[in-house]
């Protein structure tokens, strides 16, 4: 009897070790998400970016400068084209305001307006406002390795951990060395692919890897999607607090 127990225990340990060894092939999903979030950083940033929106009748470019504080505060000013110039947006937490200089109006964008597309692009305000920290929304599991854009990547499958997350699951390709997401697929609850993000170019800025050119696309719609180009990015920027107030919108 004693022998049996010992043998079983031994087998159990063997199995567990084997399991562990098996697991050891891939890192833990959560760990990768953490590294991703680390790379993104929680410091203040100033970014100048151009959005190229491909429509049915041609493409448009909109350039903006954005001040970001932490995870949930940002201030954007549109620089071009002339019609957009001077328009400002302020995000505080889950609230969004917009200021239009031509009308001198500060308007809150809430509720159903958030689901509208930004400037006719494939992104909605909601998409742009989402929590950048994936680990707050998803649990992750590494399911494989792939080469993407000649970069070795971990392939992760993310499943939402909260009920009210817009995209039930995602699949991301993370550069193994640089911990930058190079491709992201977003899925509906039933498993249907809804939106994709493809990073075309990554640059090192200020010792961090930044995707400087990405294509965002609503898969269900036909069309060429929306491109995002980062013209400049400053990390650890000095940003005065008053920028993140409604008063700053009207200056």
């Amino acid at each position: 009897m004693k022998h049996m127990t010992y043998i079983l225990l031994f087998l159990l340990i063997l199995m567990m070790t084997a399991g562990l060894t098996g697991q050891e092939q891939f890192p833990k999903g959560e760990w990768i998400l953490e590294k991703l979030d680390e790379n993104y950083g929680s410091d203040n940033k100033i970014m100048v970016a151009t959005m190229i929106i491909h429509g049915r009748r041609g493409s448009r470019e909109v350039t903006s400068k954005t001040w970001v504080k932490g995870d949930d505060q940002s201030f954007t000013e549109y620089l071009a084209p002339p019609r957009e110039k001077g328009t400002k947006m302020l995000k505080l937490g889950d609230q969004l305001w917009m200021y239009s200089p031509s009308t001198d109006r500060t308007i809150q964008i809430s509720g159903h307006m958030l689901r509208q597309s930004v400037m006719g692009s494939d992104l909605s305000y909601e998409d742009m406002m989402e929590d950048p920290k994936l680990q707050n929304m998803y649990s992750a599991q590494v399911t494989g390795e792939e080469l993407y854009m000649d970069r070795p990547c971990w392939v992760l499958e993310l499943t939402s951990i909260k009920e009210d997350i817009a995209y039930h699951s995602r699949k991301i390709w993370v550069d193994k060395e640089r911990f930058v997401t190079l491709k992201e697929d977003r899925f509906a609850r039933g498993g249907k692919l809804l939106k994709t993000t493809e990073v075309k170019n990554v640059e090192k800025m200020d010792n961090r890897w930044v995707p400087t050119h990405a294509l965002f696309k609503d898969v269900l719609k036909s069309g060429k999607g929306t491109e995002f180009v980062v013209d400049s990015m400053v990390f650890n920027a000095e940003i005065p607090d008053y920028i993140f107030t409604k008063a700053a919108l009207r200056r």
């Binding site: 509906a188 809804l194 269900l220 719609k221």
Partner: protein, 390 residues
């Protein structure tokens, strides 16, 4: 012998001539009533179709539901209370769940309402039974206008996307199992119908509904907390106004028809007097006062109308009743889009119309009979006897 008896005798005595006139006048009777009924029915058709296809006996709305504000749909769904589920079980009401969604026919994005309905329901004429089809994708039914505007036909698949109760995106492919042809735009434009249970499952709204459609014959809709009963009058308020306007416009035709009847009587009377000058002279010579003669002819004229009414009733009532019951079906002259919800025009004869028309014709006939008799007053009996025209 009373004037009435005499008048009657004269009419019958005239034989064929009288009957010809009576039949012609009776035609006018029946035609007037029939035509007005059809015109009214035409105008009412919009209301009847709407009621059959969407409103039946009225609807219970979830307290947050606002049909003109699609944003309200986010909150406008819930479990109906016992009083209402009771009705559903008895087949006296059927639940409908509505959520906002997006469809992508041929890669184009179009917003629409996704409506879930019980395929077995018998409350509204919407052909929900087509949704019983077993398919890999979601079975769906759309109206012909929706079909035209999206380019989707029966047999086509389309991707639908929506957000469930928690705001999470979900998307499935739907198969259009049937396109329904209907004149009712409100069950057609901007919406797609799928089986209720499927929608509840997919949107995470188990046992919930946005509204309940109640059977037509419901007498006393119970009160239910969190749900408001909207009566039929309320629901069709807009359209009834429009119909009223159109019906008033049709009344001009009524006047024309009435004039038709008058014409029929008028010439009969004039001719009758003209022909019977000798008779008039004789009567006056025998001691009839002018007034009495006038009265006699007027009564004769009026009797035409009475007899006509009776004759009209004889063949009119069965014809009109049959017509009212059967209705007049929509001519299938347009391109076939699919299944047609039986559209018919049902003529509307109100008691007022029938009684009013009868009285009106009687009055008018009497008047019209009277007018030419005034000529008699001017006749000298001696001339009349000789058959001379005055």
């Amino acid at each position: 012998m009373t004037l009435f008896k005499l008048a009657f005798r004269n009419l019958i005595g005239a034989g064929l001539r009288t009957w010809l006139n009576v039949v012609v006048l009776s035609f006018s009777f029946v035609v007037i009533i029939w035509m007005q009924g059809v015109l009214k029915g035409m105008n009412n058709q919009a209301v009847t179709s709407l009621v059959d296809a969407e409103y039946a006996g009225g609807q219970y709305w979830h307290k947050s539901y606002d049909p003109y504000d699609p944003l309200s749909l986010q909150d406008a769904h819930g479990r109906p209370p016992e009083e209402l589920t009771d009705m559903i079980e008895k087949g006296r009401a059927t639940p409908v769940l509505i959520i906002q969604g997006t469809a992508y026919p041929e890669g184009r994005m179009t917003t629409l309402l996704i409506k879930g309905i019980d395929p077995d329901q018998k409350i509204i004429s919407l052909p929900s039974y087509f949704l019983k089809e077993e398919t890999e994708e979601l079975p769906a039914v759309i109206g012909n206008r929706m079909s035209e505007s999206t380019g989707l036909k029966a047999g086509d698949t389309v991707t639908l996307r929506w957000r469930d109760a928690n705001g999470t995106f979900d998307a499935r492919d739907a198969l259009i199992v049937q396109v329904m042809r209907t004149t009712v735009q409100s069950i057609d434009q901007g919406q797609i119908w799928i089986p209720l249970e499927k929608l509840r499952e997919l949107s995470n709204m188990k046992e919930e509904a946005t509204l309940l459609v109640v059977d037509k014959n419901i007498l006393d809709p119970p009160k239910a907390s969190g749900w408001e009963f909207k009566s039929l009058d309320f629901l069709i308020k807009d359209i009834t106004q429009l119909v009223k306007t159109k019906t008033s416009g049709s009344s001009i035709f009524y006047v024309i028809l009435l004039l038709l009847a008058m014409l029929a009587i008028f010439d009969t009377q004039i001719l009758s007097i003209f022909r019977r000058k000798k008779e008039i002279g004789t009567l006056m010579a025998m001691g009839f006062t002018r007034a009495k003669v006038i009265r006699l002819f007027t009564i004769e004229g009026a009797m035409h109308a009475v007899l006509a009414a009776l004759v009209a009733a004889l063949y009119g009532i069965p014809f009109l009743t049959w017509f009212a019951k059967t209705g007049w079906p929509l001519p299938e002259s347009m391109d076939s889009y699919g299944f047609a919800i039986g559209e018919k025009i049902f003529p509307v004869y109100s008691a007022g119309l029938v009684v009013g028309t009868t009285l009106l014709i009687l009055v008018v006939t009497t008047l019209v009979s009277f007018l030419p008799t005034r000529k008699i007053a001017k006749l000298k009996p001696t001339d009349a006897l000789r058959g001379k025209t005055s």
